[in-house]
Symmetry: C2
Subunit: 410 residues, 2 copies
């Protein structure tokens, strides 16, 4: 029988052994992370599962079913430094409880596997989703991560080798997916939407596509006292106009746009700003809308630069296409939530997660979100009501049952 | 006979002995500054003047006239590090040439004095106008400068003592003004107004009053991906609105307003800005208009903060009242310019100068500006056309003659 209270108790137990006064410290490729994973192995050792670490460092627990077809449930034990008590490990421990419930009923009709992805956060070396992207096949280890060092100068390959993970073999993890028919992941929302709607749970329709750019406006530094208003080439004025204009652009295209960093040069009280660097982060669930948001922002920046007698330069920092989750699994997720709490809501995911890597690898995928208090995560004050955690374990369990039926029907 | 070309030659001579590849290096209270002042003393020693260093370190050359009433002409030999070839010393060397012309005609009707103010720039210790404000009486040495240190940790009192200037006696310089009836100062504009109007010379109506504030908008840092546009408390959006709103405020009140520095926190590409610090510098020739500009900016900031669900805090960095120059001397300056180049223009001064200290001390004062190329100063590329320098020496000489007549008429 499913026991959601046990998940809450285990979350607290994990917090006690891998956190401190500043929060969770389960940074991937560290001793504390190893402690957390050993603790999980011990919990799993009481179940009729086989345990395996793949070449990318992902930990798999397999409950053999009547069919070779596999349902995957995943999460990550690693956290950011000074992190919260839920981000990542809620998914794993909720999955563990679902696995217990299924195992308690004898051999399941399909094989059920719990995966603890290695290094979702990228907190130590700066590259997120290391384990899941090695497994999905989207990671190019030599090109993307071989050169990375942590803040103490330790190379990533050295740190990974301590965990028996080697760059030239880690993509072998891909073979783990050969029988995978569906992937489920529960996560705290890490945003304010469900709380603002007073809803415990939501079905995630996919992850945003992202366009991330560094934009430089170049005007002319000038004396704040001796330069009349109509003689200025004020780079900050152009940047301020763009900072405001991105908001109607976001609303028009049902996405989000953020100016997160502003740097002014010379940046002193007595000088008109000669150069202003801003960052722009744009996200949308639709690739066409995302492209339109970018184009409109570029055009607006050029218009504002001209108005302020400035020049503007764009440099792309990063981009990724939207990754929509499986439509049928989104429906099942919605149903499972409805049956558990009577009301559901569909929303996109802003933050990165391992789940889209599974969708990209061709495994039908969906995520379920549980409400975050104050929308805060990556911080020790990250929290979710215990009653909502319990409901999320129940809903995930319902979703697993529905998904097994769906796999069998194929 | 006045020889403006000699002024240009002497400016180049001074540049050769006190500058390097990076520009002028006559920073006050340094050996290079002392070299420049010794060079000036040598030039003055050929004239029938008495030389004196006052207790604040200001150098005075006095050409005794038939009357004890005094006309003062002033400037400063000191420069910023890597400074230009004109800022400060043009005034002194043009004054030197005017003094030569007057001396060549025998005993003048009034006493004429050339003053080289000590440490106008404040480049080494951060406090401008040290010598002139000690003389005017507006400086409180123990309170304002006793604690200052240069970047190497050398205390200001130690550096000044090397030049025989002591904090407890320096205000004795005030007695230099007891017979002063007028003060004249020629300076490069350090701004773009005269160049943009294609005018060589302008009459300065006074120095702006200044209100300088640090403004902090406090919103809520939030994830750029998971936080919908209508759920944000974006501190940068509020700051951007204010950055644009200060411009119509400035235009409406015939002043200038500048946001020179913008700092965002957390200041990363993936987070809505939780805190945004900006600086606001507002300047106006009219105290009432300055107060109105400040009040309107405060009200606008509160309105924008409310719109963006943020809070706003203001902290004053500095303020000074407008200092209008003497109306009759402004008229005389205008006439001298008209007679020299056929066209004049009245404009306020944005940067600080020694001249307003004389006006504050009750000495009728005016400044004359000569065009700056590209409006740039405090930089080795600071420049003014030689033909304009020559015209400025002629116009200053005409203004000196008119001012002597005016002093005699009182």
């Amino acid at each position: 029988m499913l026991n959601p209270q046990r998940t809450i108790d285990e979350l607290k137990e994990l917090r006690a052994i891998t956190g401190d006064d500043d929060g969770a410290q389960r940074v991937a490729w560290t001793d504390t992370w190893a402690t957390a994973r050993d603790w999980l192995h011990e919990k799993l050792s009481n179940l009729p599962v086989t345990l395996e670490r793949d070449p990318a460092g992902n930990d798999w627990a397999t409950l053999k079913g009547a069919s070779e077809k596999e349902l995957l449930i995943g999460g990550h034990m690693d956290s950011v430094p000074n992190g919260g008590w839920l981000d990542g490990c809620l998914n794993v421990l909720a999955g563990l409880e679902v696995l217990r419930r299924i195992a308690s009923e004898g051999t399941p009709p399909v094989t059920v596997r719990l995966v603890d992805w290695a290094d979702e956060e990228g907190a130590r070396f700066g590259r997120s989703l290391v384990g899941s992207s090695a497994c999905s096949g989207t990671l190019d280890p030599q090109k993307e991560i071989a050169h990375l060092k942590d803040k103490d100068g330790i190379p990533l390959p050295t740190a990974l080798a301590n965990f028996n993970v080697h760059l030239d073999t880690m993509k072998g993890a891909h073979s783990q997916l050969k029988n995978a028919k569906a992937y489920l992941e529960l996560h705290i929302e890490q945003g304010p939407v469900l709380e603002s709607m007073d809803l415990p749970l939501g079905a995630v329709i996919g992850t945003y596509g992202v366009e991330r750019h560094a934009i430089r406006f170049i005007g002319q530094a000038a004396h704040a006292g001796s330069t009349p208003m109509d003689k200025r080439k004020d780079a900050f004025a152009a940047a301020a106009k763009l900072g405001l204009e991105i908001r109607p652009i976001a609303v028009r295209h049902h996405g989000v746009c953020t100016v997160g960093s502003v740097v002014t040069r010379p940046g002193i009280v007595t000088a008109v700003v000669g150069e202003c660097d801003i960052t722009l982060d744009q996200r949308n669930m639709d690739a066409g809308e995302l492209a339109a948001m970018l184009q409109e922002a570029v055009e607006a920046s050029q218009r504002f630069a001209a108005e302020e007698k400035c020049e503007v330069e764009w440099n792309r920092i990063w981009q990724i296409q939207p990754i929509p989750f499986d439509p049928h699994l989104i429906d099942l997720c919605d149903q499972a939530i409805m049956e558990t709490v009577g009301v559901s809501h569909r929303l996109p995911s802003g933050p990165l997660h391992d789940a889209p890597e599974m969708q990209r690898a061709g495994v039908p995928t969906v995520m379920m979100f549980v409400q975050s208090l104050r929308g805060i995560s990556h911080n020790k004050i990250e929290d979710t009501k215990e009653e909502h955690i319990a409901l999320s374990v129940q809903a995930l369990d319902r979703l697993a049952t529905k998904t097994i039926d769906w796999i069998l029907s194929q």
